[in-house]
Symmetry: C2
Subunit: 516 residues, 2 copies
């Protein structure tokens, strides 16, 4: 058994069943070894940002890591932005980065670079397997490291000779470290805050944004009157009819100021104390209201849902959460607006949908329009590195072939990782992309105003995507994805219905006005 | 004057006239400041790999750096692969990477990451401007550092508050360090090797692949019988009728073994001693023939063309180089083959063309087919990170609006940075892309064989691009570039002629068979 075979067998034995791959020469033995291990599926991406984003989306839905296969430092570099998002989502991922043979590195061949430095920037787990006999054990350690609570990116550097060398040994799975318990004193202290008679905001994050955490949060809010929020960009937020409706903290500081206005205490549970996404001249970075105290119920890596349940048992015994009633917007009509496209989605969202949300400025109406829709998951842009929606939707669809995946996708962001469409076509994934085509980096027009910068025509030019207009129908069909264009709510509804009814990927180029 | 204004004025004063940009919120003051400086042109790319590749192509042709504008760590990450190629080309580039305001970093906001670690992997120059008043001086230092011989990547991290803060001061240009002279003893020693009666190979690289270096090399070869080669992947190789024809070292070790067979001495001038691009089981990494001695005439950073001229004066006084005769292949006919598409290019290559060569396995016939064409420049894939051709062609066209730019582009490689087409359309650049569409990662099929790995159907699947077929006509037109498809030599000739005759970008989707 060579090192590559021991690697893939070890990964498969540890439950890693999918490898999103963009291989090169140094990975050829890994590629060849895929055929000798039945438990591993290889999924090709045409760009590494697709590969890493797909691994993120896969793990957010599957609840376990996929592997990636990347080609030396430049391959890791191309994958870095979506690994950044995955780091912020605390998504477990096992990167396998092929490298030159150990004895080849001293020649400083063209593709040689400091891979460790780049991998290290992800603040996860990094190891280089120097010998074929170590590869299996290193792979088992990587899978465990990725899954140690709360989840991280593990990067295994695989020199070509460790991959092709004989003497590989499959290693048994290493159990990952589960979440640490929150001690009872902390829970009691926070219970005291919640029942102390002063206004409290409770901000939850991480896996507290899934059903158990939401129910506990809903009970606490119902019993104590605390205002409950999910963090601004949760990795996976469960919502819809039948679940407690927990509002997300806003992206803009002004929104957060309004949401937290008047609170004397901010309790965080698996989330950070609120801070501005960006800094702005003359505006605060720290969004904790002046004079309010921050209390940490649980940190990421602790058992946040359990702590919330314990807290609920103390302050909300016998109280049930308020659940979202089923309700959908009426199907709208007329030319597409920023309001009515979201109503179309809310009106037609299928059962058990997974939404990859990279709608950005076009999506402001979306939370309200979908609040009472059937229960669904929303995957958000945790790290702010745009180009996440199409790959994450791709990976989510691999993880859940029985669920409809809907990518609500800004035009500018789409262009970073557009070749994800090809992987969707190749794998026949049930992804419906609603491409919100406003011909602009509208978020930057907003931000240019907000930072107080006066731009002239050159500045405006750098925020414009309309010259030339991007025809996403042509691009999608060029990559094998059936596509249509919608300019009215009626067209969007008809095309969205049809896309959901047919298997496989579809794209709807929805022409919407820019926010500004 | 704010920091951003001082930055752009300093760059423009130092001769940096173009900024390839993909900005975000933290760069908004830089974007706004563009309108206050007439000497700086902003060129938008929809993905940072396009931005950095364009900066590489620009500088290879303009002979001076462009700036890039990138958005925090993920933006730099997306640009890293083409910066890797630029590092290997020793291309001067000034990256401006926007970062959070200095006081904002302690909040560990979603887009925060270790930018220094990633920038440091480029082994160039990295500095963070902490205050608006320092930005001008730091920018002047960055431009000089980028241009210090032999050229490197300078990365200036620009916190948002240093950008928007008042007190910016324009700094005068700092003269870069020119190349160091090669001492006369070294030249004499190498002259002794060349005239010593034993067979010698002379391998040149860097700026020795331009006219002056080629002429000196040609004289030396003519006078001494030395076999002259250019390095495998020169940043910019001048060639064609009227210049000495210097063959490039091969990509495969077997080719190099044949080229260097029997030599007793290898003289390197601005190039490395030959080594294999990748390691292969049972094959040597070191490609210097056994028993041959390596002599360094000049290293990168030294004045390599001058050293070659001095050497020529010693060993080739009165000898003229053998110049390439004008000659073109006849226009071929019939279905496209790996031979005849290259002949079409050779037959029709216009005067003063710039070729971005990412033809990879489809381009094996190209050097011979274009050898006697009118004089032209070839820009090659110096660092092996694919996805270089479209962006580099884009930047070259910005640098030389009066020259035809031809991107000979593999399909797989094209998909990494395909949105460069949109920038070509937006800027109305005279780039003709010949998209060599073989439906495969053919290089990896070759490499899978060469590394001795036995792949089965799963392996074959990861090297296949034909399911679904990629329709580059649809994709190009979707991004505003007129496109046609060619399946025969006649069609390619007709479409290539027409593309050259019309201004602005064109793409020809040339359906070719895979090498294997």
């Amino acid at each position: 058994m060579n090192g590559a075979q021991s690697l893939i067998r070890t990964l498969a034995d540890a439950g890693v069943e999918v490898c999103f791959a963009n291989p090169g020469t140094s990975e050829m033995h890994f590629v060849a070894a895929l055929d000798s291990v039945p438990g591993m599926r290889g999924v090709l991406g045409l760009f590494e940002g697709v590969v890493t984003g797909a691994a993120d989306g896969y793990a957010r839905i599957a609840g376990k890591p996929a592997a990636t296969l990347l080609h030396l430092g430049p391959g890791l570099g191309n994958g870095l932005a979506n690994l950044h998002n995955a780091r912020r989502a605390r998504t477990p991922i096992v990167n396998v980065v092929g490298d030159h043979a150990t004895y080849h590195r001293r020649y400083d061949a063209p593709l040689d670079s400091d891979i460790e430095a780049v991998a290290g920037s992800l603040e996860g787990w990094v190891r280089r397997s120097e010998h074929a006999k170590d590869v299996g054990a290193d792979a088992a350690a990587a899978v465990a490291a990725a899954q140690d609570a709360p989840g991280r990116i593990a990067t295994l550097l695989l020199p070509a000779d460790a991959s092709w060398g004989e003497g590989g040994e499959t290693a048994a799975p290493v159990p990952p470290r589960g979440p640490r318990a929150v001690d009872a004193t902390t829970v009691r202290d926070v219970a005291g805050v919640l029942t102390g008679g002063e206004p409290v905001a409770l901000i939850t994050g991480g896996d507290a944004c899934r059903e158990a955490g939401l129910r506990a949060t809903g009970r606490i809010a119902a019993a104590t009157g605390a205002r409950a929020f999910a963090e601004t960009f949760p990795a996976r937020l469960e919502r819809g009819a039948g679940l407690p409706a927990i509002e997300r903290l806003g992206y803009l500081g002004e929104q957060v100021a309004q949401q937290l206005d008047g609170v004397a205490h901010v309790v965080v549970a698996g989330a950070k104390a609120p801070a501005s996404f960006f800094a702005y001249p003359g505006r605060p970075s720290d969004l904790v209201p002046e004079g309010a105290r921050v209390h940490v119920l649980a940190e990421p890596g602790q058992d946040v849902p359990r702590a919330l349940a314990d807290l609920a048992d103390l302050v909300a015994a016998g109280t049930e959460p308020v659940l979202q009633e089923p309700s959908r917007p009426a199907l709208p009509s007329g030319p597409l607006t920023l309001q009515n496209w979201a109503e179309v989605i809310g009106a037609l969202l299928p059962e058990r949908a997974i939404i990859a949300d990279e709608a950005n400025t076009s999506g402001l109406a979306l939370p309200a329009a979908t609040a009472g829709a059937p229960r669904h998951d929303v995957l958000t842009l945790t790290g702010g590195a745009i180009g996440f929606g199409m790959p994450v939707a791709t990976g989510a669809a691999v993880a859940a072939p029985d669920r409809p995946v809907i990518d609500l996708q800004s035009d500018g962001s789409a262009m970073y990782t557009i070749s994800a469409l090809w992987t969707q076509a190749r794998e026949d994934l049930d992804v419906t992309t609603v491409l919100l085509n406003n011909g602009a980096y509208a978020i930057l027009r907003l931000e240019l105003q907000r930072v107080g910068a006066d731009g002239g025509p050159k500045a405006a030019e750098l925020l414009d995507l309309s010259r030339p207009e991007i025809d996403f129908v042509g691009i999608a069909e060029g990559m094998g994805v059936p596509a249509t264009r919608a300019t009215t709510a009626e067209e969007l509804a008809e095309q969205f219905r049809r896309a959901l009814a047919e298997p496989g990927p579809h794209l709807i180029d929805a022409i919407v006005p820019p926010l500004l």
